[in-house]
């Protein structure tokens, strides 16, 4: 061949057209030469050419490829390299998984469970809390809670209407305020009668919350201000759809709210939900008489109104608080009696809107995060063990030119691929879990707009968490493999688990145990709190009591006498229904809400006002509910209009109001204005405390008003709760009851029955749910931690085979060997417990607001949980210990 005096070809990429033609020519030259060679061997030109082309492969394709690569230049090459690498690594990873399905399966399953838990909690968190509150500029919204201090604690009493007006007029920091009073009402007019949630609101309510009315309008200033002049209501979107069939002609229709005629003047937009959860309709302040006494509007001392507000621009919550402290001080000076010790707290909307639900959700989210870390640690340990087994394969890669980074990338790709598989299953598991568990979420825990489904955000969250987990899990094995010294590891026969790696495994296990302890303590505390609530004696016999509510219309029963007659007839009617054993009527019912409050006065101290909850009950009420009588008697049929006014009180009432009385029976109190002798009632009986409002209330606490019971014949009630017991073994017949009631008075809507047990269950539903979920998470954590301990110990036993054999040969007993392995496991767990325990003590405060009657540092919970964990960990160590003890010295030494 000639030398090299030819002109240089231009650098690649400069002359596109020429270069392409050159490539074609070069390949053509090759084909020519091959054809010539084949012709020399005897083939004719055409055959030779065909043969040459066939041997070459697809020449055009090759030419194209070369041109493409040339054009792409440097960056493209690198990209293609990286992508090519990635594809290769992924393929390799999957082949590895197929070859070791057990390892891959466990790792993927572990990750799937953890990712499922996390994603599910995140979905709920996202739908309830993280997304913006459904109000414009929600960060400027606040609650203004009127309170006074009792025994150092804030007792929230809200505001009276005149007080609210003062706040509103005097405050600059809160640019607008509105009163919002929730109330349950009977609504008639949609498709029958139903119970609905209403809010009585003042002017500015809709503008503060940014609600729009696609149909009709909201209220005019007159409708807010002038009492009883304009009976109008606004419906919520969901009520409109549910009960009015989305009828656009609903505006202008008349409906009955609490048996009074009102006109529908508007329907709110679908995304407007009100301040209380699940509001159905809004009533203007002027129509307060629909749900309560009209003089609620002017009495400064009657406090009942929650207030919302919008901060002026640039004003912080702290600024507003300071201003309102000053205003409260002014009012205290102006009205020294009524406003004594009355203050206002400014609370952000976000805090007040969700209450303890938010706290609970964040705690669960944290628990899920811990579970994920534990799972990641398990997978990391698994990968470390496998990396050990793959020393040879990795060494080959290093020798062939893969640098440390390359090997690390390969291992990370594997762990992320594992995480991806786990994540895919986890998402399916999460979707299923949400569908199964969402109906179990107790009513009232989540706001109405929250729909915990697997949203796009939840999906992205799962993606991010699985990547993080994959990287975390793969980091340790990747780093340690990358740094290995090849020759030493090969010479050691590939069994070298260097000290560093073993220590890493131990650290992982200790971390797992610590985190598991944290979760278990949390679950333990929540469980104790829940059981403490169950242990509270509600003062009633729970089972077998059914209840429904009835409110006769003013048309059919216009006055108090009519009410007495009606009540008696109703009781008779229900008593006659087959199966009903005993029936009673009352103005409200335990755990149903609705008690009204008033003030009593001691005759010897008519200046001191003592707040109490009033109830009107029929004879047989206490007996029906199984309330215990402490002294005196229950309400009887003889306590009627003609007889003197009587009252039955609870033990707490006696202890708090009549501390000097031996038992209270025979004492008289004023149940209203002390200047009116008709208000003097004699106490004829004292009963055990009944928990009317909720289970966690402290009966002796100041803010918890005690209960006084009147005879329903002396103090009739329009809103009636009818409670009854059936004969033994007989289930109530709701149809029969309904028919009987409606036959008696057709204007009464069909009552719906519930039982005292259901009400009680609803009360305990949230703590039960919280304890259940935490228990679930911590159970999983415990399981994973045990798997971790088992894995590490069994690997270490396998690795230390020769050492064990040696010890056996030197005289150690099988039991000694087993014991030392168990001791290793216990030691690891012990360290984890100590670290976890300290962590739990420090972080316990997070749970405090969710706990009832349990301290966050409750020693018994800690002790029980720690012992259980230690025991389980020891058991996990038992299997490898047993294996170790079975190793006969000869086997192990011989095999080396």
């Amino acid at each position: 061949m000639s030398g090299w005096p030819f002109k240089r070809t231009p650098p690649p990429g400069s002359l596109g057209g020429d270069q392409d033609a050159d490539i074609d020519e070069e390949l053509e030259f090759h084909l020519e030469l091959r054809t010539r060679e084949l012709m020399d061997e005897g083939l004719d030109r055409d055959t030779a050419r065909r043969e040459a082309e066939m041997q070459f492969g697809d020449a055009r394709e090759v030419a194209r490829r070369i041109k493409r690569e040339r054009r792409r230049g440097g960056a493209g090459r690198m990209m293609m390299n990286v992508l090519g690498e990635l594809r290769g690594d992924l393929g390799y990873a999957f082949r590895t998984f197929r070859r070791n399905p057990g390892f891959a399966g466990i790792a993927a399953l572990t990750l799937a469970v953890a990712i499922a838990g996390n994603t599910a909690v995140f979905s709920v968190l996202d739908s309830a809390i993280l997304r913006a509150l459904p109000f414009e500029n929600a960060s400027e919204l606040v609650f203004l809670n009127g309170y006074h201090l009792q025994n150092g604690e804030r007792a929230i009493r809200y505001a009276s209407v005149p007080e609210f007006t003062d706040w509103r007029e005097r405050s600059r920091g809160v640019s607008s305020m509105a009163g919002v009073r929730p109330a349950g009402v009977t609504l008639r007019g949609g498709g029958g009668a139903e119970r609905a949630e209403a809010e009585v609101v003042s002017q500015d309510y809709f503008s503060i919350l940014g609600g729009t009315t696609p149909l009709g309008r909201t209220f005019t200033p007159e409708e807010y201000e002038v009492p009883d002049a304009h009976p109008v209501v606004v419906l919520s979107h969901s009520l409109w759809v549910r009960s009015f069939g989305s009828d656009p002609g609903v505006v202008g229709r008349s409906v009955l709210v609490n048996e009074r005629t009102v006109e529908v003047i508007g329907v709110m937009a679908a995304d407007f939900a009100g301040v209380s959860l699940d509001v159905d309709l809004w009533i203007p302040m002027g129509m307060m008489s629909l749900v309560g006494s009209a003089d609620l509007l002017d009495t400064r001392g009657t406090r009942f109104l929650p207030v919302i507000g919008r901060l002026a621009s640039g004003v912080s919550v702290e600024d507003a608080q300071r201003e309102l402290d000053a205003i409260a001080g002014d009012l205290q000076d102006l009205y020294p009696d009524i406003n004594r010790d009355r203050f206002v707290e400014v609370e952000t909307f976000r805090d007040g809107y969700l209450g303890s639900t938010g706290r609970l959700l964040w705690v669960l989210f944290g628990a899920g995060g811990f579970l994920l870390l534990i799972a990641a640690a398990n997978v990391a340990n698994l990968l470390l063990v496998r990396a050990d087994a793959r020393v040879r394969e990795l060494t080959v890669r290093r020798a062939v030119g893969a640098d440390s980074g390359r090997v690390a990338r390969l291992l990370l790709t594997e762990s992320i691929a594992l995480a991806a598989i786990g994540g895919a299953f986890g998402l399916v598991l999460a979707a299923w879990g949400l569908r199964v568990l969402t109906p179990l979420i107790p009513h009232g825990v989540l706001p109405g707009y929250a729909e915990p489904v697997l949203s796009v955000r939840a999906f992205l969250f799962a993606l991010v968490s699985l990547t993080v987990v994959g990287v975390l899990a793969g980091l340790a094995p990747a780093l340690s493999s990358a740094r290995r010294d090849l020759t030493t590891s090969l010479r050691a026969g590939g069994r070298g688990m260097t000290g560093g790696r073993a220590r890493t495994q131990q650290i992982f296990v200790i971390t797992q145990v610590g985190l598991a302890l944290l979760l278990l303590v949390g679950a333990g505390l929540l469980t104790r709190s829940f059981r403490a609530q169950l242990a509270v004696d509600p003062g009633l016999e729970m089972d077998g009591v059914h209840v429904f509510s009835v409110q006769p219309s003013r048309e059919s029963v216009p006055d108090a006498d009519g009410l007495r007659v009606f009540t008696d007839e109703l009781l008779r009617t229900v008593a006659e229904v087959p199966g009903v054993r005993s029936v009673a009527a009352s103005s409200d019912f335990p755990l149903r809400g609705g008690s009204s409050g008033a003030y009593v006065f001691r005759p010897d101290d008519p200046e001191t006002r003592i707040r109490y909850h009033r109830h009107s009950v029929s004879p047989g009420y206490f007996e029906n509910l199984g309330v215990e009588l402490r002294s005196g008697r229950f309400i009887e049929a003889s306590d009627n209009q003609q007889a003197r006014p009587v009252a039955v009180v609870t033990q707490a009432f006696v202890e708090r109001v009549l501390p000097d009385a031996s038992n209270g029976v025979g004492r008289s109190i004023y149940v209203g204005d002390p200047s009116d002798p008709a208000n003097l009632a004699e106490i004829v009986g004292v009963v055990e405390n009944i928990r009317y409002r909720n289970l966690t209330q402290d009966m002796m606490e100041e803010s918890n008003s005690p209960d006084v019971f009147f005879s329903i014949h002396q103090v009739p009630a329009r809103f009636l709760e009818i409670s009854f017991r059936t004969d033994a073994g007989v289930a109530p017949n709701p149809e029969a009851i309904r028919t009987a009631v409606q036959r008696m008075d057709p204007s009464i809507p069909a009552p719906s029955l519930t039982t005292l047990e259901e009400l009680y269950h609803a009360q305990t539903a949230t703590p039960r749910f919280a304890a259940f979920l935490m228990g679930l998470f911590s159970g999983l954590a415990l399981l994973l931690a045990c798997v971790g301990i088992y894995g590490v110990l069994s690997h270490s036993v396998g690795r230390r085979g020769p050492e064990i054999a040696l010890r056996r040969a030197l005289g150690a007993q099988a039991a000694d060997v087993a014991r030392s392995v168990v001791w290793d496991g216990a030691r690891l767990a012990g360290v984890g417990l100590v670290i976890g325990g300290i962590g739990a003590l420090l972080s316990g405060r997070v749970l405090e607001s969710l706990l009832f009657n349990v301290e966050s540092t409750d020693p018994m919970t800690f002790a029980v949980v720690a012992s259980a964990l230690l025991l389980v960990a020891t058991l996990a160590a038992a299997v490898p210990a047993w294996h170790a003890s079975r190793k006969a010295p000869a086997d192990v030494l011989g095999g080396e």
Binding site: E26, V62, R70, V396
Partner: protein, 110 residues
Amino acid sequence: MSGSDLFTGTLDLLILRTVVRVGPVHGYAIGKAIRAGSDEVLSIEESALYPALHRLERKGLLDSAWGQTDTGRRAKFYRVTPRGLTLLEAETRRWIEFSGAVGLILDVDG
């Protein structure tokens, strides 16, 4: 490192070595030389050879120029650059190390 990576690395070495041995030469001759030099054991597919040549040229390990063959045909000739020579030496050493390790492994498992 996937199979193809391993292969391309080796192919590059073979090409460089051959071009060094045979002197400035066109692609066809390189293919023949490798076959001959390995006692007919290694046979390079054209669809791998030509892209490899262009790749090496892009990397600056080979130089090319158009010239004329003995028979008067126009052909593209390649020669090794100094950089290519350096790399060839380094990679050859690594290859020896690698094959030694492989040998070790094959021995132990066998």
